[in-house]
């Protein structure tokens, strides 16, 4: 399977998965480029499309988490720099959405623990089944169910608090 066909089949899905983790279009594009470049370097390794799908999702998740962790580390350092304007925002100002509900929801998703966020995005945004999500994340379907349940509860509380503030 050539990389162009892979991009046509998975590009948009991978982009959304990364975007819901990183919440910056510019950085999401960078990561998607890295994902398909890694696939290009590993093209001899895989045969079937199913194998490719799992590989692309895994690499996208790992790269998104790495990026978020390095951002967090950078922010921790920035706190100690007197001339910096403090912690950089999770969502860059130019990408702040007009819709306050969506903006609040995106922030809430970003505050979820890594695994809960990944499970939620795969199942609720990418519409993957519990089994597929479990395979991508390398955990059991039961664990996926529990992760999504906890993520939903947290988001529900967040939305209720947000709507109460309005």
């Amino acid at each position: 399977m050539d990389i162009k066909s892979l991009y046509d089949a998975y590009g948009r899905r991978i982009y959304n998965l990364v975007y819901y983790h990183i919440q910056s279009h510019e950085e999401a594009e960078e990561i998607v480029q890295d994902v398909f470049l890694a696939a290009h370097q590993q093209r001899e390794k895989f045969r079937g499309e199913a194998q490719w799908g799992t590989y692309l999702y895994r690499i996208a998740i790992n790269k998104s988490i790495d990026r978020l962790r390095s951002k967090k580390r950078k922010n921790n350092w920035l706190k100690w720099v007197p001339w910096s304007d403090g912690v950089s925002k999770a969502i860059p100002a130019e990408e702040e959405t007009e819709d306050p509900h969506l903006h609040a929801l995106l922030q809430a998703i970003q505050q979820l623990p890594e695994q809960q966020r990944t499970a939620l995005v795969l199942m609720k945004i990418d519409q993957k089944s519990q089994k597929e999500t479990a395979e991508i994340m390398g955990i059991s379907p039961k664990a996926v169910e529990s992760l999504v349940q906890r993520a939903k509860e947290k988001l529900k509380n967040f939305i209720q608090r947000f709507e109460g503030l309005e």
Partner: protein, 76 residues
């Protein structure tokens, strides 16, 4: 949660994203060709240098005069 589902949109990537990936793949291919060429050239030059050191050249062979007629001691 229904409210959440309705609220979570799907984003479209930049239409030029594939072109950028293609460009990076081409650059990567060039980057892998250049080192190969570079190392091959280095190996050839190093090999030639080693050969020139270990074996006397034709000129050096000619320099060894089996009949040193000019050497006066030879005739004495």
């Amino acid at each position: 949660m229904d409210n959440m589902k309705r609220k979570l949109p799907q984003f479209e990537p930049n239409p030029y994203l594939w072109t950028r990936i293609e460009g990076r793949m081409m650059r990567l291919a060039n980057d892998t060709i250049h080192p190969i060429l570079g190392w091959s050239l280095t190996a050839v030059v190093a090999g030639m240098l080693l050969l020139s050191i270990s074996r006397p050249t034709i000129n050096q062979e000619q320099d060894i005069d089996p009949y040193p007629s000019h050497n006066i001691l030879y005739y004495e």
